[in-house]
Amino acid sequence: MSKIVLGIDDLPGDGVLADPVCGAQGQVLLAAGSVLTRRVVESLRRLGVRTLTIETPAAAATSRVAPDAQQVHARVRVLFRHAIRTGVVNPLMHFIPPYRLGDAP
């Protein structure tokens, strides 16, 4: 993914966050993919954030392409082929496709 680190004062209008902003304890304060509106940027500034990693235009265009459901399911079937062959239950096989496709749990 193409991304660039910019000072919080140098952000273009409504950029897209490429890496999450985390607190000192590792908790995610703002997830990757969030749109950096003026209000959001102001909140981050108040929290002491001075730099942010944002997506470059080319990367943003790529990352917004919705994943193809058929491809996601096909790849999951390849990865979980041992469970499929042996019939051993693996709940992760059912959790990963909707996560990849952004479906509600």
Binding site: C22, A24, V28, A32, G48, V49, T53, P91, L92, Y99
Partner: protein
């Protein structure tokens, strides 16, 4: 086939590179709280490569710092003692195992999977209020036996890789068939040799067949499920990756629901690239 006796594996492991003294001290201090921040910064600063990696990881988006961390004293003050110890241990271990000469062994994919499992084990530990520091280290090292076997017995391990590719089976099964032993056993031997705590050694030994003495989740359960998730999320970047069998006992002891799983998936993926860059550069 090249059957390896337990003695041959032990002898091979003993020939592996010695860990830097500071990393051994960090390993021995995992889980203890009687080490001072200043003492830790001084220890790490004695190894320049380790100090540089620790600072690079501290400055990565893994920790999301709002300003540049420029000294080890700063890193300890800002990130906390336990976190710096964990970061330095991980950086030290990743630095010791160099590129081997085993045909077909994908060194980069190996470490990328290890980093994914480390992040995921840490996320699971946080969700179940277990020791995150130890969980991260166990995740990073769970497959160290593969690297040890490939480093000590490159020709024999090349046969394992060829057998796995020909039969599309699990690495564990290919190792047992070709070598008569497997990477979980070798991993326990090497971590014992490096004087890791018994809890870490047992978690690595049992990461494909986890055990818990009670109904509560064990460290072995965490790394077993994390290994499954890391393979399932396809993070190593290898086309023929395969998810190993999931222990339903471990799954039930962890009692994860779909929402928690998604948080773990997201947490792992959001930190993954920056930690790979910091640790593996």
């Amino acid at each position: 086939m090249t059957r390896l006796s337990a003695q041959q594996v032990v002898a091979g492991v003993r020939d592996l590179p010695t860990l830097p003294a500071v990393v051994v001290e960090l390993i021995e201090s995992l889980g203890k709280n009687d080490i001072s921040a200043g003492e830790l910064a001084v220890k790490i600063s004695h190894d320049q490569a380790l100090a540089a990696k620790t600072l690079r990881l501290a400055n990565s988006s893994f920790y999301g710092m709002s300003r540049q961390v420029t000294s080890l004293a700063d890193a300890t003050a800002i990130l906390g003692l336990r976190t710096v110890r964990c970061v330095a241990t991980a950086a030290g271990l990743a630095g010791v195992m160099s590129m081997g000469s085993c045909k077909g062994f994908d060194f980069k994919a190996f470490w990328r999977h290890s980093v994914a499992t480390a992040l995921c084990t840490r996320g699971l530990a946080r969700a179940r209020r277990m020791d995150e520091e130890t969980a991260f280290v166990v995740g990073l090292l769970h497959d160290i036996g593969r690297l040890a076997l490939a480093s000590c017995f490159p020709a024999a391990y090349a046969q394992v890789i060829a057998y796995q590719a020909a039969h599309d089976c699990l690495p564990l099964d290919a190792e047992r068939f070709v070598l008569g032993t497997d990477h979980a056993v070798a991993g326990a031997l090497i971590t014992e040799h490096w004087r890791f705590t018994p809890a870490i050694v047992e978690a690595i030994r049992g990461h494909h067949d986890p055990f818990s003495a009670s109904d509560a989740a064990s460290l072995g359960d965490l790394v077993h499920i994390a290994d499954n998730i890391a393979h399932g999320l396809d993070l190593s970047g290898t086309p023929d990756d395969i998810v190993p069998p999931l222990s339903m006992d471990a799954w039930l002891r962890l009692a994860l629901d779909e929402g928690e799983c998604r948080e773990i998936f997201h947490g792992t993926e959001s930190q993954y690239e920056s930690v790979c860059q910091a640790l593996l550069a």
